[in-house]
Structure formats: C-alpha cells, structure tokens
C-alpha cells in the first residue's frame, strides 16, 4: 500500500508527527490544589498559585506523577528515574506566571511505541519520542467586547501529559488510527478520560511533504484539533495546500495554523512570538523529580490489560474474529461488560458462547441502545447476565435464534429474565423428532402439488416446506431438526 501522493513533478511522501495533550484524570491541578471540574464558573477554581500572584509557589500533585508513570508504561516507554521541570517562558494573557512549567530537557518518559491497525491483517508500529508533564493554560474569550478580551484561569495549571510521536505516519488514516489507539490506551489505564468535547484530549498535527529519499520538508503545525474526524480533514487539507505551494516552486512557512471545522480549512495564526525563544531552564521552585523503583513497580502492578493484549486474548482464547474483538476492546467498559456476561454463561462450549454473546452485544444491544438513546452499557434496561442466559437458551437449543430476537425485544421492554419470558409465552423450541415428523408429514400431505414439483427438480421449494412447518409450529420448531426431518422425508 503506497502512501505516496502524485504531484505534477513526481511522487511526494507525506510526513506526519503528532503531539497529543492529554489532561490527567486528577481531581486537583498539577501544582496547586484547585479543582479541575469542567465548565465551572469563571475563576472559581483558581488559587493564588494558579493566578501567579507574588510569592506563590508550585507543589506537585503526586497522583499526577503516578498517572504519568502508568501512561509511560502503557506506551512501552522508559520511565526516567530523574526528570526535571523546566520553565517555558513567554508572555500571553492566559499564562499567569509568564511561563509554563513543563519538561523540556529531561522528561519523565522517553521512547515508547504503539501498534496501529492498518487493516484486518496488518499493523504498523509508531514510535513515541517522549511523554512529559506540563501545565495547561487558561482560557481567553474574545467575543464579549470589541476592545477587550477576558481571561478565565480555571484551566490554568491543570495537569497535561504531552505525548510526542516520531514523524512516522504517512497518511491521514495512520494519524487517525494513532490518535484512536493512544486515546484507548489512556482510557484503559484511567490516566485520562479522553473526552475530546471537553478538551481533555487535544491533538497538534505536524505535516510536511518531501520527495522520497530527500530530507524532510518544512512543516506546518496545526494546533488544538479536538476530534479524530478533524485530524483527518486537517491533514487532507494540508496535503493539498502544501502540494500546491511546493509544485509551484514555493516553500512552506514553518508556522502554527488552526483548523476551522466549519470551512474544513487550516489557516495561519497571528504569531504569538516573532522569535520563539522560550529560554527553557530548570524551574528553581521545584527539585528534580526522583522516582524510586518501588513507585514505578507499584504503578506497574496497577496496570490493566491493554487493548492490544486483550484483543489478542479474545482472538486466541475465545476464538473471536479480529473484527469482533476490535469492536469489543475499543472501550474497556465494553470489554469488561462482555467478559462479565461471558463469565455468567452456564454453557460448556465457551468458544461458541463467546462468539454468540459478542454478536448479540455488538449488534442487538448496541443497536437497541442507539434507538433508545442510551449511551452507557450500565444503563441498559435488563441485567447484564440475562444476555448470557439468552445465549445459553439458544446454544442449548431451547429456543431458536429467530425466537431469541423476540425474547430480546421483550427483555428490553420489560427488563425480565429471558427464561421467564420464554416460559410465560411458551416459546420453547420443539425438538422432539416425532412431533416434527408428524407436522412434516402433515405439510407434505397437503402440499402434494409442491411435492410433485420438488421431486421434479425444483429444489428451491425446500424452503417453502420449511416455512410451512415453521408456520404450523408457530416458529418454535428447532430449525436444524426440521431440516433433518424434511430431508429424510423428501428423500
């Protein structure tokens, strides 16, 4: 699969690197004890430290450190036992101290990688340069007055993990898969909720083009994209824009751009600093962060099985297809929900049940949730174990798959146990060969004309007979048996 783009003068390769800013799932900020709740009234979650008042000092939140360690482990990175916080100095209204506390020279995690799925069979490894901790900035509002901007510092000081990839992606799709995988891993670990709507997961995309086997081209940075879809759109737009400039003999300005979702375009930002000289130096209000082996091992012991490993296990142990496994592991809640249901199944053939439950969950349950407007699995109108019982009924031949759909609908409506529904409505499948033989005989008797046609070669009439048997038995006949009996009777 070639990711090369055809331009007028030849083939170009797109080079993409991503910087993800993931807000740590902490209750308090990184260096102060202010709360981090989303959408609080302006400046109500701001301490004197956050406001950069004279004499105020940062003290690090130990939970945030532990989440960074866990995230680093989940991304297969190296946890640096000594890391240092640096000040990134620049002036802006949303930066109360005139510097952001970040980690420039010695981040807490170096290296790492994740594997993304290119298709059902192929994965690609994307290497990670680093993960470091830094403060988020405040928010500025520009549309309340023609001459003033207003600053809310609630977000200032919230803990972010910045994850920087190597520039190893070559298409919008690869970038999107990378974003989805990182988000999934962090959500699994519980270190970031990945809520892009609330801004707790933001992506900066660096895009450049070059002819293969030549040095990388100048890149543009598109900042603060907050959806996977927009990541793709921004990249596609940039490719076209940059290709146009380069094919015309121009050069790409190394600049910061913003993505405009309404127009599907990127545009240049008015530069904040004409010369980006951040004068990084170690923050003298903080000491180097020294991590003990115990602390790192404790974080490691709290690691959960990550999506890739879970997917592999679902495929090997439970015999699920890659597709089914993928759907189940995207969200840890879904995978856990699935495994809980599976655990409560009484059937002996685990693999068979695993496949069935997977199907029921991903098609029927998800479908019903969509239609009813329910977004959380824990809010479905019946107990999770009931799905296992439903599948057990199918696998045990008590009801047919078709009847099961009706039972499911009733479960959704009433919340009742499927066994009770089947009892009450007398939906049990008939599996008595003698009874079926009788009905089959009856059907064939009254269908002499079709029987003749069938015997003459019209084999499609088999389905007609099946249908008639089912009708007579009100759908409760065991379909497999019906087929068997009919075949015998017609032979």
């Amino acid at each position: 699969m070639s990711n090369l783009i055809k331009g007028r003068s030849g083939l170009w390769e797109v080079v993409i690197g991503l910087e993800i800013h993931a807000q740590v799932s902490s209750k308090a900020k990184l260096f102060s004890n202010s709360a981090t709740t989303f959408a609080a009234d302006p400046n109500t979650q701001v301490s004197f430290v956050d406001a950069g008042m004279p004499g105020m000092l940062p003290v690090i939140n130990s939970y945030c450190v532990d989440q960074a360690i866990k995230s680093g482990l989940g991304l297969n990175g190296k946890i640096e036992k000594v890391s240092i916080f640096d000040r990134k100095n620049y002036f802006y209204a949303d930066l109360p101290t005139g510097y952001q506390i970040s980690q420039f020279y010695h981040p807490i995690v170096t290296g790492g990688y994740i594997d993304i799925d290119l298709d059902e069979k192929t994965t690609k490894r994307i290497n990670i340069t680093r993960l470091h901790m830094e403060q988020d900035a405040g928010k500025s509002t520009h549309d309340l007055s023609p001459t003033e901007s207003f600053i809310d510092l609630n977000r200032a000081g919230i803990a972010l993990m910045e994850i920087v990839s190597e520039p190893e992606m070559h298409s919008a799709k690869e970038a999107q898969e990378y974003v989805k995988k990182i988000r999934s891993i962090l959500r699994y670990l519980g270190t970031c909720d990945g809520n892009m709507d609330e801004g707790s997961f933001r992506i900066d995309v660096n895009v450049s083009l070059h002819k293969p086997d030549t040095p990388f081209g100048d890149r543009a940075e598109i900042k603060n994209i907050n959806s996977v879809k927009f990541v793709g759109q921004a990249i596609e737009y940039e490719i076209v824009r940059q290709l146009g400039i380069l094919e015309d003999g121009g050069s790409i300005a190394q600049e910061t751009r913003l993505f405009d979702p309404a127009k599907g375009e990127t545009r240049s930002m008015r530069s904040k600093e004409s010369a980006h000289d951040y004068r990084y130096f170690p923050d003298p209000d903080l000491k180097p962060l020294i991590l003990t082996d115990e602390r790192i091992e404790k974080a490691r012991s709290e690691m959960v099985e990550l999506p890739d490993a879970k997917k592999a296990r679902f495929m090997t142990d439970l015999g699920l297809t890659a597709y089914d496994a993928d759907v189940l592991v995207v969200e840890k809640e879904t995978a856990d929900f699935y495994e809980n249901i599976l655990a409560s199944s009484q059937s002996k053939d685990k693999k068979l049940v695993a496949k069935q439950i997977a199907n029921w969950l991903t098609s029927e349950v998800f479908g019903a949730m969509n239609r009813s407007g329910i977004s959380e699995l824990e809010n479905i109108p019946f107990k999770a174990e009931y799905l296992a019982e439903l599948v057990d009924l199918i696998v045990g031949d008590t009801i047919s798959g078709k009847i099961a759909k009706d039972v499911f609908a009733k479960m959704w409506e009433t919340g009742d146990n499927p066994n009770i529904i089947v009892e009450k409505q007398g939906l049990k499948q008939v599996s008595d060969p003698k009874e079926i033989e009788n009905v089959v005989a009856n059907v064939l008797e009254r269908s002499a004309k079709q029987l003749e046609q069938y015997k003459a070669g019209k084999e499609t009439l088999f389905g007609f007979f099946v249908g008639q048997v089912m009708k007579d038995m009100k759908g409760k006949a065991n379909p497999g048996l019906v087929n068997e009996v009919l075949k015998k009777a017609l032979s």
Binding site: G52, M53, P54, G55, V59, N89, G98, Y99, R279, P282
Partner: protein, 487 residues
C-alpha cells in the same frame, strides 16, 4: 527608668511576663520612634493602629497567662513579604497599591507567636541592590554617620536596608529581611547589628516575593545574637506549600546558645582576605584572637572557587529573576499602563513600573537564558554553583566553621556616584558564596572602621549549623562588646 526602645527582645519578654511593662507601652514607644525617625525612610507602610490594637490583645494574653513566645513584641517586615490585607510593594512602583489576600508563611509563623507587625520596610526594588538606593520610594538612610563627614547620608546596605536601619535606630526590636546574595548580612554589617541568612530551605519562601528562587532565603535581623536566634526559631520550619522547604526539626536556638567553643576548628579562607581594606584585616585578626582566647583552633584554609561566586551569581540570579518578574505585567494585579494591544500594555506597564536596576537585571537574565547562550552561561553557572558547594563541603570536613569579613568596606555614601554596576556588585563578594552553596551565614557587629562606621564579622557553617553559628557569634559578641546606637 526603662527606655523601652533600648530593650532587647529577650529582656522585653521577661519584663512583659513579669508584668513590669505593658505591650501597649512597648509598641507605642516604637510607633513614636517610627514617627520621630521618619527621615530615615525605613518604613513604606506603617501599621501603627493595628499594632496598638494587637498590643492590647497581647496584654490580655499576658494577664491570662496565655502569652505565646513573642507575645506583644513589635517587629517589622521587609516589604517583599506578602502581609494579608496590608499593602505590599516590594519597593516597586509596579506594586504600589497591591494588597495581598494571603500571608507569607514566615510572617504568619511569627504572628502566630504573638509578634506584632509595626509596618512594612523599605527595600531595594525586588531585592535587587546592595544599598537600598534602588527603591522606587526613595533611599533609606543609615542611622550611623561617619566621623569624617557626619552630614553625609550613608547607605544602610541592601536590599534589606529598611530592616537593618530600623533595627539599628531602635525603631523596631527586630526585623525580617531576605538574603539572595548578602541582602541580610551586608546591611547588618553596615548598620552594626546581627543578621543571619539561614540554610536554604530552612525558612519557607511561600508568600515571599521571589527574586532568585534558588538563592532567596528569609531571615531575621536584631541587635543581639540571642534576639536573632529567638526570631529565627519561630519563623523557620517545614512548609508543605514550598517544594524547596526542608522537613527538619527546628531547635530552640536561643535557649540552646552555648558559648563553650573549646576545640572548635575555625577556618579563615585566604581568598577572603586578599585585597581587604586594612580596617577589615584588623577586624578579622581581632576575631581570630577572640576565638582563640576561648579555646578555638584557627587556621588558614583555601576556597579556590571563591572568585567564581560573583560571576556565577550574576548569571543565576538575574536569569531566575527575569522569569520570576514576568508575572508583573499589569494583567491581574499591580499597576497597569494602557496599551492598544496586549504586548503594548505589557511593555508600557513594565517600562513605567520597573526601575533601572530591575530592568538591567531582567535584561541580563533574559540574555543569558536566550537561545544560543543558555549552555554557555546558565548551565555553566549551575555547574559552577555545584563546584562551589563541593568546595565548602570539603572545607567543612576540615574545619567546623569559617570566619570571614562580611563586607569589603563599611557603609558608603548614598550619593556616591557608582557608574559601573560591577563595582556595586562587588559588595556581595563575601556573602554571595553562601547563597550559592545553600549554607547558613551570620554577620555579627565586631568593630568600627577608622571612620567610626560598623563592620561585621561573618561566620559560615555547613547546612543546618545555625545553632553552632549562634554559639560562636555569641562569643564574638561578648568579646567585641560592640556599642550600637543609643536612643
């Protein structure tokens, strides 16, 4: 009759406890002195009314026998300590009307022991200076006068000039200052009083407006070693709001003062004597004799990294300051000068709000941190800081304490035109080393120069050796019999 402003803190405490004097009278006497000696310009924001109210409360505490360690004792705080609901300017125009909604930990600690704040003290703007001539509110005058020209106004030293002058002139019983390159010890020496810069991390920096974060330390100034020790023991201590604060038990410094120094090993670094003015040389010699007389062993040692200290200091301190002062931009507090754009507002505000010396240091600091120069200057200076620390560590394997002069000369004239900033910076040559190494240093008044102006002797010890410094300083104090200014 007891002249209340002549008392030491420990004496005053004893009399208050016995009920022989009242805190109200004590504080009133100092409020009067503050008014009488206004011309020294030591105070920026007097807190007289509040002080008298607090004094009344203290008197009640004494009656009820619930008096705390510093109950009813009037102190004054350098204006870089944020005092809740009391204007705090840091000696700068940019904070002319800033009223902090929070209290610095060290002043809070003292207030919680019943100490009474007489007012906020003048200082070099943002603690940058060695003469208190860089305050936006006018210079402070040293209460001492030279014999050769008694009409000439002299500097009290800086940047804690207001602190030193007010203690020396008996306006306050003790004061808080801060020391980044010598700003407690140098003015203490110039004004003939005691001042100590504690071990880095002993006192909390929370609420103390930052100049150079890795070097700043709060510390007390008073007229006697015992008083200084008393204030330190109550202001110091671990603070979880300061990440550089150290969790160590604070001894009862004052009570524990032990003047037995038999067998104490004292080192005199030869580098600190090179080029020293004869008055200084003589004083160091006297110091050596006094200590020997009490059984100490004194020997010359070498601190080879001494000459590196000031250049390293003048990279590190401005660099950190340039970043620490970025928050003063007119956006959230302080004075604002209008601008059509955000950047214009910043530049106009800082142009108006900062004085010349502050601008100079911000410029140097910004320069040494900027791209292309960072490794050559800042990283290098940090590594040299490490070398200096190691040098002291090595010395302290050999000796217990170091004896040095505090300042190269006595107080100079306020109007002496010093055109080259480097000349001014050399005032810190004996003191900045301790800030770089994070070790404690005390200056104790030991004698007068040929002009009748005070000179101090400095003792430097390993980290957390404050008790030892107080002990030895007491020996010098006893031997020197230094006469401060009488009222």
């Amino acid at each position: 009759m007891t002249i209340l402003t002549q008392l030491t803190i420990s004496k005053a405490k004893a009399l208050l406890t016995k009920g022989e004097i009242s805190s109200k009278d004590l504080v009133q006497a100092h409020v009067d002195a503050m008014e009488l000696k206004k011309d020294l310009n030591a105070f920026l924001t007097p807190c007289s009314d509040d002080a008298l109210k607090k004094a009344e409360r203290s008197d009640t505490m004494y009656k009820n026998k619930t008096a705390r360690a510093l109950e009813g004792i009037p102190l004054a705080y350098k204006d870089n300590f944020c005092t809740k609901n009391v204007r705090t300017t840091c000696g700068s125009k940019i904070l002319a009307n800033f009223v902090p909604p929070y209290e610095a930990t060290v002043t809070d600690n003292l207030n919680n022991q019943g100490a009474i704040n007489l007012g906020k003290l003048n200082m070099d703007e943002f603690a940058m200076g060695s003469g208190n001539i860089h305050s936006a509110y006018g210079p402070v005058t040293n209460p001492w006068k030279s014999k050769e020209d008694p009409s000439k106004k002299l500097v009290p030293g800086g940047s804690s000039g207001g602190s030193a002058a007010s203690v020396s002139a008996h306006i306050t019983m003790g004061a808080l200052g801060s020391d980044t390159g010598g700003s407690i010890r140098q003015p203490a020496s110039f004004c003939g009083i005691v001042g100590i810069k504690p071990t880095y991390g002993l006192c909390s920096r929370y609420g103390m407006i930052a100049f150079a974060s890795s070097l700043d330390q709060a510390g007390p100034l008073a007229r006697t070693v015992e008083d200084t020790a008393l204030i330190l023991q109550h202001m110091a201590g671990f603070d979880p709001k300061d990440a550089t604060s150290i969790d160590i038990k604070i001894p009862e410094y004052a009570k524990n003062i032990n003047k037995n120094i038999k067998g104490l090993k004292v080192g005199v670094p030869i580098e600190y004597l090179e080029g020293l003015h004869p008055d200084g040389q003589e004083l160091v010699q006297k110091g050596i004799e006094w200590l020997k007389a009490e059984g100490a062993e004194v020997k010359e040692i070498s601190l080879k990294t001494t000459s590196l200290a000031l250049p390293a200091y003048y990279i590190i301190a401005p660099a950190e300051a340039s970043s620490n002062l970025a928050r003063f931009d007119g956006a959230r507090y302080g004075e604002r000068v209008k601008g059509d754009s955000l950047d214009e507002m910043y530049a106009n505000t800082r142009e108006e709000g900062f004085g010349k010396e502050v601008k100079r240091r911000i410029m140097i600091g910004t320069y040494v941190l900027s791209a292309g120069y960072y490794d050559a200057f800042y990283t290098k200076a940090l590594k040299i800081k490490h070398l200096i620390t190691e040098d002291f560590n090595k010395a302290f394997h050999d000796v217990d304490v170091l004896l040095t002069p505090t300042t190269p000369t006595a107080a100079f004239g306020i109007d002496e035109k010093i055109t080259d900033p480097v000349t001014m910076y050399l005032n810190d040559v004996y003191t900045a080393t301790a800030n770089l190494a994070g070790i404690p240093g005390i200056s104790v008044p030991a004698g007068l120069d040929h002009n009748g102006l005070p000179l101090g002797l400095q003792l430097l010890g390993p980290r957390f050796s404050e008790q030892s410094l107080f002990n030895i300083a007491s020996v010098i104090e006893d031997a020197a019999q230094f006469k401060g200014l009488e009222d």
